[in-house]
Symmetry: C2
Subunit: 337 residues, 2 copies
């Protein structure tokens, strides 16, 4: 498990206002090809690539585990090169971090591609709460201790966390911007080709639909004008899912998420995504009810709702404890198909 920082949240100064970088898109190329040609890879990518390859190699040789690449949290779209302002997508990373734990419990190794400082597996139980870190501690006999109110449960979580670490089953890979996300996902999926059908992509991150091309990004903070409105003119992010299905990881099982706020269009949008990208499963959910119910939509048009009972809601059962075993079943079917 890597705890190293790659400064994903620092300003991306690579290629800043480089007029040699052609404007996006380039005629005659697919939008995806254009994207990678007109944008710079994060400088830390080779280092992460080496770690990922060694993680995958380890499991191929020693454990035979399946690997889930779980994406989690929202991507940002910087509006300036020295980033002060950015557009963000709402996501604390709850779905991804929780799902990663259940993948680990179900015997998978997990590549956790996450927004830096979003929720992480295991530590999620104690971060992003309104409880301050120090509220878990007490002083006793001039020593600091975990408060007895929290210690027993925290010990259980620590054991699971240490088990994931000591078995080399979890690797944490951060991103901040949509550009970092896209380059890292491409690299990760190419590294996972070796796993064939034993690789699973569980794309729970909230990826921006729009972005500001690097060639048009101002160097400095946008200055507000006396009377002025700000008009931000963004391009649509190319649809990378088709690349993932066709080229980057053609044998892997690919699961995408569809989050909507309007329930009348959820199924239609999930089905449209499957038609367009030809992948295996869309998990649909509504912002308002996403912790209580989701729907599995498959290419045969089946709609399979997964819902917590009232009793399960009361007793804080996590819906991911129902989702992941069902995903694992689907993955097994895919491997045997």
């Amino acid at each position: 498990m890597s705890g190293k920082s790659y400064h994903t949240s620092n300003p991306e100064t690579e290629g800043a206002i480089d007029r040699n970088v052609p404007d996006f898109p380039i005629a005659g190329q697919s939008e995806e090809e254009s994207y990678f040609r007109t944008h710079s890879a994060p400088s830390y990518l080779p280092e992460i690539q080496a770690q990922l390859e060694s993680f995958i190699e380890y499991h191929l040789k020693n454990t035979g585990k399946r690997i889930a690449l779980v994406t989690s949290g929202g991507t940002t779209v910087p509006l300036e090169n020295n980033t002060v302002r950015f557009i963000d997508n709402f996501s604390a990373g709850t779905r991804g971090a929780t799902s990663a734990e259940y993948f680990l419990e179900n015997g998978y190794a997990v590549i956790f591609l996450h927004r830096e400082f979003s929720l992480l597996p295991y530590s999620r139980h104690y971060s992003h709460t309104t409880n301050c870190f120090l509220d878990y501690m007490v002083e006793k006999d001039n020593k600091i201790e975990i408060s007895p109110d929290f210690a027993p449960e925290m010990l259980q979580v620590l054991r699971k966390y240490n088990a994931a670490k000591s078995s080399n089953s979890l690797i944490l890979v951060p991103f901040t911007t949509v550009n970092q996300y896209l380059f890292t996902l491409r690299m990760g999926s190419e590294a996972l080709k070796k796993m064939g059908k034993n690789a699973l992509f569980y794309l729970a991150a909230a990826v921006s639909d729009f972005f500001l091309p690097q060639s048009r990004m101002p160097q400095h903070k946008i200055q507000s004008q006396a009377s002025g409105k700000l008009i931000v003119d963004l391009e649509q992010v190319p649809k990378f899912l088709s690349r993932l299905v066709d080229n980057w990881a053609p044998r892997s099982m690919i699961i995408s998420f569809k989050l909507e706020t309007d329930d009348s269009i959820l199924i239609k949008k999930a089905t449209a995504a499957l038609d367009k990208y030809q992948h295996q499963l869309v998990i649909g959910n509504l912002l308002q009810t996403r912790k209580k119910e989701v729907v599995f939509v498959k290419p045969d048009s089946s709609q399979d709702w997964v819902r917590l009972t009232d009793k399960q809601v009361e007793t804080n059962v996590e819906i991911e404890s129902l989702i992941i075993p069902k995903v694992v079943q689907e993955h097994t079917l895919w491997i045997n198909s």
Copy 2:
């Protein structure tokens, strides 16, 4: 110290697409008046107001402490009513959280008006690091403990935190959106009127310059179009600092921050802010060097740089340990003026 959540990060559904809400701005009113008339206050505001008033009353009656209202972290601008996308301002809240600790050490009571989940005084030492929460823990004899590597320092931090709690010297007030920030700042400054010159505003939050008026906000997630660009047409946030100086808290000392990335315009912009708002002090800083140097700019055009020496940088001295005593001196001068 309050650890309660006010759901500041939940969708703000109050007044959603209410066509009775007039479009912003209304002719014949100041922009600030128009803003508050055309936008809804957060529903939790009365509850926070009661807490703040009792906090202020406590210090007026019992301690005679000065009170600093410290704002910290970035505000968001939701682009939809059921918020999926928002524009954010880069700020982890380091300046505000660190400064709050030094205000407390210098005998102030502190109202910490902060972006929810940004850094908090004291706990900041252990959150938002690439260290996972659980990396501070070890298991020993079937019990969970703080790792001996961290325990001694953490005990010192815990003691300071507990001292702030037990002396009722720190109150945490969260915000997420720029709208929540503005309504809460107005309420807080009116509550602080009673403190007269003993109140200090230390406005370190990164507040959006632009916002999307509630009357124009779509109810549901913006749908991406097949070919489409996204054009976000934003209004400028009214300049509330003049209200703060003239009406809300006319006797308090007010300190604002100016963060730029281009060093050639920093002083000019700081001076322009003082000319415009007629407050007491601007602390200027550049994104690139903000942890090593800042400049105090005053209405008499004096520029006073506060810089860490190389040795101080090496030994991790925090620049706020120099900034706050200097601010306290200025506040004393203001009180005696």
